[in-house]
């Protein structure tokens, strides 16, 4: 898939996944890379930026039989950002979908 496509939606995907439930970094990477291929390490600069912007917060939690893991959770600000991004995405996807259908009908 086109790299710029993915980069644009990666932030939205992270916010949506964290809106479902809190996740730790590795889990987040796996859940996204099941859907499309990403450079796994790039999720961490993104998470750090989202934390700096106040969209996500972090806490440490013990895991069964291992060291503590850093969990990420969506803040109220983050929910607002997510909703805006999802609305924009839906509007965009609908517009592009309409265009594609029109082209197919003619072709």
């Amino acid at each position: 898939m086109n790299a710029q496509f993915k980069k644009g939606v990666l932030e939205m995907c992270v916010l949506v996944l964290l809106g479902e439930r809190d996740r730790y970094g590795y889990e987040l990477v796996q859940d996204i890379s099941h859907l499309f291929e990403i450079s796994e390490g790039s999720i961490y600069p993104l998470l750090r930026r989202l934390r700096d912007e106040g969209s996500v917060s972090t806490y440490l939690q013990e895991s069964a039989g291992g060291p503590a893991r850093k969990y990420y959770s969506l803040t109220a600000d983050g929910r607002a950002v997510r909703d805006t991004l999802v609305d924009e995405w839906n509007e965009f996807a609908r517009a592009v979908g309409t265009l594609l259908e029109g082209t197919h009908a003619e072709g």
């Binding site: 993915k6 970094g25 590795y26 889990e27 796994e40 790039s42 998470l47 291992g66 893991r69």
Partner: protein, 193 residues
């Protein structure tokens, strides 16, 4: 690449950051490795999927320095943020370093002009007052009284320019930070992502 080598390369790329921030970033990647290994993946596989540690480290460093420059504005902080962002790719010499240097040059130029005007005003006024009082010979083609007011005008214009420069600097600083952040998000991760 095994975990130790990966972390070592990452740490090297983060060497300019304060230790607490550096170790905090590294801890995320160490956790990533340890979870991966506990799920049965081997280190080389995890390292490959994570992507180049040097470019990840440079991205982290640039993001951190831009944020520092935003929280605690200073010429030095901005310089470091710009340098770190320029280091992300050759292309940034053209779209970050060059505009930055031009902008600094223009602002310094306006400041110098403002300063010179502000300084020359009192000289002109003083000279004109002295020639009005007959202490100095009137060497100006204009009447001395006009010189007095023209001098005051020059000073005001100079001070005004200096104030404007300060104001422009603050605006450009804020916009510059936003631009750097946008640049980092666009320029990084394009190989694999």
């Amino acid at each position: 690449m095994q975990k130790d080598e990966y972390i070592r390369n990452l740490r090297k790329a983060l060497s300019r950051l304060p230790e607490s921030e550096r170790e905090d970033i590294i801890a995320d990647y160490e956790e990533h490795f340890s979870v991966g290994v506990s799920e049965g993946r081997d280190e080389a596989d995890i390292a490959g999927a994570l992507g180049d540690p040097r470019s990840l480290g440079r991205e982290h460093a640039a993001l951190f320095l831009v944020r520092e420059a935003e929280i605690d504005p200073s010429a030095r902080g901005l310089g470091r943020a710009v340098a770190a962002t320029v280091g992300l790719g050759l292309f940034n010499l053209l779209v970050v370093l060059l505009p930055f240097l031009l902008l600094v040059l223009i602002l310094i130029l306006i400041l110098v002009i403002g300063f010179s005007l502000a300084c020359s005003g009192p000289l002109l006024t003083g000279y004109s007052v002295l020639s009005l009082l007959g202490i100095m010979p009137s060497g100006l083609s204009a009447p001395p009284l006009a010189g007095v007011f023209f001098g005051i005008g020059l000073t005001s214009a100079g001070l005004f320019l200096m104030v404007i420069t300060g104001w422009l600097m603050r605006i450009f600083y804020r916009l510059g930070i936003r631009y750097l952040r946008w640049n980092i998000s666009v320029i990084t991760g394009k190989e694999v992502l």
